[in-house]
Assembly symmetry: C4
Homo-oligomer: 239 residues x 4
């Protein structure tokens, strides 16, 4: 697979699939992609397979319309359009996670805003919009299947890090794979904590300035510390 | 056991018992059955044993009255009448799961409807009735012990996929074992998510049309992807 | 330890300590005892040690005042008075579990009655009193340290299976070790489910007659099926 | 590392990092320190690393201003100022835990007091203040980065065992490492239980006298029993 992309990128992408499964963000579904480091109009993503099982051989190279340009001929995920649209419209994004993380779903089907309540979750940003596919596309199977739907979703995302999808899940972006993993995990943790806090009473979220400052702090070496931890927590692969 | 049924059916049934235990749907109790592939008036089910421990040798072949016609002479589950009644009245059903999944029980003892709030749970259907054994049978031990009770339960199920049993658990059907497993797992996940969402505020469920379209989509290869994942998560059996 | 009691009783007691730890009923604290099978004015219990770690060598034989009459000289649990009082006053009881099971604690500090909402939990009985040590003994360290306190607790228990202790935990009784384990586990499961159901709305518990009939049913072979399951779930002890 | 501190202290500190990770109190972040046994104006703490991964070689010796005086030159945790300030101002404190324990965070962002509701949690004390960094320092990244901030936090802690930090986590103190671990774990357990109880209705906490008496009781051998248990639950380190 070294032909598809630099080894470091491939390794990070494989490991990110396993970390996000092990940390409860992904299950049989959801997917992670990474923009090609040196060919920015290409991105790497597995063919359709449960993330925890993804190996380097499963990766495909897609263009920014979601068309396979290298890698095995196996069927792509139904929703590669999401990834393609984000990479097209957001030059600052190097990795995209699409998940159905359990704690996040309830915020997509109620009107309750998902905001960071502790510094670790500041990376998800001060504001998280909820996109509803039905608004423009009526009754669907909820999947984002084409560029029109994906562009609409990406417009709702705007310049932010996270967008929720009503009745479906969420999209999390990052400057690189490790940043997207970090944001995905703390999005999940924060949603759990916020739901618990809301049951206790009125909740004070981080201020916009706190969110910005804490996020800047976490973009430093904290990410490497967490990545090392999550890697060590991975179950050993069968001998 | 190859005399009882084709190997593929036996394998799927054994593995489904283990998957549903490992994924938190079954514990010491509950059971899974499968209609015989080539003799549709027979179904396979274990003798009374915790599902996680079921091996091929534990299977029995029963007729549509719940009478054992092949397999070891060990005691049957108390509630084989449930399975027999569903297979009698629903020619489209190839597998039945009866569980006490924890997240589902609260919906059976309150008046709160259990409806799908995200696309993965669309397979449970737009409407899930709650059957109360006491309505026709008064104070019982809650078990469905005979054809009269099982027929009443199956009438409440109607043409749907799932029926809840007040103070007891639920019955989930599928066209085959893998479909019944998929619906059982996402019924459990959706009940957890819906309960969490209801604590946040008013919840928007999938529309009837969304439910139908998403369920049609999931009847495709998504099921195989999930099955592969759940199989890989199974603990290795003792060396 | 074969001098202390029949091997079967010793084995069941050791395994029950491990099962209740593995199933989330006991942690570093709590204890299980068993009345001596042939000398009913004696009972077996470990010296003070986390239940999961208890081995046959840790067992002591105590009389019905809680005084050690055989076994190693190590320090007894602070609260052996609980076990002694129950065995003194309840000839039908063959085993006692004292736990701080997490889901049960909230019912002891609020006025909300803990009642069975599904058939598996019928074994906990139709009515579970809450005993408050402060009522007769004022401000204490909450431990039941002497016969006066233990008798007061046992009076609150009466002829029932379970009594909650405000700000502390609960006592669960059984005709033998396996029955007490079964009731302890489903008490914990039911408390979790009832709390979840109460958050949804009004809850319909089992009727008194349903509770009685389902409990009678579960006293049969269902217990053996569950015991086999819980034993198989135990982690292997270090090689 | 035997040059840095007595072996027992080093061992307890390493094991405490692993216990608190394994018991769900620490994740990739948070840290534990211990005052040097014979040189009380020094304390031991790892360089910046996920607690579960900390080994003896990772420890550094710091003075009460948080300056490294022995051990490897690797980067310190950002918030060593917290530990230094507590050791400066509280001669009775021998160990400090800083965590983001999930169940505790909601109490820091709502006005709901975190009080002990069962005897095991009496060690957290009758009153737990919430410190808000914004009150004196405005919009920050929420980290406690200097002596002024740490002194303010420590003033809020006062003579108590625990202080919550709004939008961040908590600080738990102990006379030694094992006492701080005990309080940290039962703080986490009690926060979970209290949140669950508050959803049921009005909650009766321990009285101040009960809290004091139960805490005195738990300072005895109960701690050793729990420590043995938590050590045994640790996953074995690599092969």
């Amino acid at each position: 697979m070294s032909e598809l992309a630099p080894r470091q990128l491939v390794d990070d992408l494989i490991v990110s699939n396993r970390i996000l499964s092990n940390e409860g963000v992904l299950d049989a579904f959801g997917h992670v992609s990474a923009r090609h480091t040196t060919t920015p109009d290409r991105f790497l993503i597995s063919h359709t397979r449960a993330p925890e099982l993804v190996e380097a051989d499963d990766l495909q190279l897609l263009d920014l319309r979601g068309t396979r340009v290298a890698g095995g001929e196996r069927r792509s995920y139904e929703e590669v359009a999401i990834h393609a649209a984000v990479y097209r419209q957001r030059a600052d994004v190097g990795a995209v996670v699409h998940s159905h993380a359990a704690s996040v779903i309830p915020f997509g089907v109620t009107g309750v805003p998902l905001r960071p309540i502790y510094h670790m979750a500041s990376v998800i940003g001060d504001e998280i919009p909820v996109w509803d596919i039905a608004k423009r596309f009526g009754d669907t199977d909820l999947l984002v299947r084409d560029a029109a739907q994906a562009d609409d979703l990406t417009a709702a995302l705007g310049a932010r890090t996270v967008v929720l999808m009503r009745g479906h899940g969420c999209v999390v972006t990052g400057s690189d794979v490790r940043a997207a993993v970090f944001a995905s995990i703390y999005l999940e943790r924060n949603a759990t904590l916020l739901a618990a806090a809301l049951r206790l009473g009125d909740v004070r979220s981080l201020s916009a300035a706190e969110t910005q400052r804490a996020a800047a702090m976490l973009r430093g070496h904290a990410g490497e510390r967490a990545w090392e931890y999550w890697v060590r927590r991975l179950p050993r692969r069968g001998a």
